[in-house]
């Protein structure tokens, strides 16, 4: 049984058709890479799957429920508790400290301050960030900031992590380290991942890949003997 699926999604921005027939499904705990050329519709697909955009046609099903049938409140709750997000950059508040950033999703989900900060702090050693709790995230290196972002995305214990070019702004070695940490952590937590990337080395961390081309999904057909 898949945990998240898209059936025949279509989505246009004005006259630009971003998705014309996109279908895919994600198994629980699976890491799925979404690849494809620039402008092919990868981010649009991710946003539709995450309930950030409403597709023009087709359905997104999470845990057996059609996202379009949920109320706005229910969808917001879903995004805060069941889904986590890591982007290339920009999801941290630079003026806040690393631990403030990490605790923020918990506070938004209604966890009280003390337990929220305790849970947030517990992530620092797991991500190799011990000692950086009080540092403002604007003063972290790119690799450190992405590790905070990974923690921030996972701190609420989501079922699905959405990652759009999570290492896009990092050099190869730093990117590999962030990927290693991210993959190890989601494997331990049992989180499924939608990993959008151009980078084959990043995609190679996934269990399988799909390719988006001209707004449609091309799934692999055969394997080499």
């Amino acid at each position: 049984m898949s945990i998240l699926s898209a059936d025949h999604l279509t989505k246009s921005y004005g006259s630009t058709v971003a998705l014309h027939d996109a279908s895919m499904s994600l198994q629980p705990g699976e890491i799925l890479a979404v690849m494809g050329p620039s402008g092919s519709g990868k981010s649009t697909l991710l946003h539709c799957l995450a309930g950030i955009f409403t597709p023009d046609g087709g359905t997104v099903t999470f845990n057996g429920r059609d996202l379009a049938a949920l109320s706005d409140r229910e969808r917001t709750r879903l995004r805060r508790t069941d889904f986590g997000f890591v982007f290339q950059f920009g999801q941290l508040v630079p003026e806040l400290t690393a631990v403030d950033n990490m605790a923020l999703p918990l506070l938004l989900a209604g966890v009280r301050r003390r337990p929220a900060y305790d849970r947030a702090a517990a992530w620092f050693p797991r991500l190799g960030l011990t000692g950086l709790e009080g540092r403002r995230t604007g003063e972290l290196s790119g690799g450190q900031a992405q590790r905070v972002a990974v923690g921030r995305a996972l701190v609420t214990g989501p079922t699905v992590l959405f990652a759009d070019e999570p290492t896009g702004a990092l050099d190869s070695l730093t990117g590999e380290n962030v990927m290693d940490l991210m993959v190890d952590t989601v494997r331990t937590e049992g989180t499924a991942v939608i990993l959008v990337t151009h980078d084959a080395r990043v995609a190679a961390h996934a269990d399988r890949q799909i390719t988006v081309r001209d707004g449609a999904v091309i799934a692999p057909e055969v394997h080499v003997a």
Partner: protein, 175 residues
């Protein structure tokens, strides 16, 4: 690089003499490896004939291999088909073979994009294995796996760029 199947692919559109095949082969593929020698050409054609992949359509009277005109057989077409559709084992230094496959597929109106997608999946599969190897360590194995990963990544970039320019390439070589 698979010379016999490449010659089959070049012969497929229409019956040809050996020297015509050599001319097509050299103009399309020679900068990529070496020009075909006549010995290699006729040796290969004889073997293909023996294996039932080509037939002699008729020989002009007289002596010498240049008098024969060859035509591909159904077995030969099936061999071309299989070779094009089957992904290569992902390993460094594949470019010559992949290039030939793309050109032959375009010349014969076969789905080049689909073959490249299949190759892409084969490459990613191998990259997943190498990624598992680099994670398992020790560092010496990681570094070795990295070598393979960077080379396969370069192939993949070429596959992506080529996929994006297939229409242009088709126009150029089938003009």
């Amino acid at each position: 690089m698979n010379v016999p199947t490449t010659l089959l692919g070049l012969l497929e559109p229409e019956p040809s003499h050996g020297y015509e095949l050599k001319r097509s082969y050299d103009s399309l593929f020679a900068d990529n490896g070496r020009a075909l020698s006549f010995g290699q050409l006729y040796g290969t054609l004889n073997r293909l004939e023996r294996d039932g992949q080509i037939q002699v359509l008729g020989a002009a009277p007289g002596e010498g291999p240049d008098r024969k005109r060859y035509v591909i057989t159904e077995t030969g077409v099936a061999q071309v088909e299989t070779w094009l559709a089957e992904p290569e084992r992902p390993e460094p230094m594949l470019q010559a073979t992949l290039f030939v496959k793309v050109v032959l597929a375009l010349l014969s109106d076969r789905p080049a994009a689909k073959y490249l997608d299949t190759q892409r999946d084969a490459h990613l599969e191998r990259m997943r294995e190498l990624t598992a190897m680099r994670k398992a360590g020790p560092l010496s194995r990681t570094i070795l796996a990295d070598f393979g990963l960077f080379h396969l990544e370069a192939d993949l970039r070429w596959i992506d760029m080529t996929t994006a320019r297939l229409d242009q390439l088709r126009n150029e070589i089938t003009r």
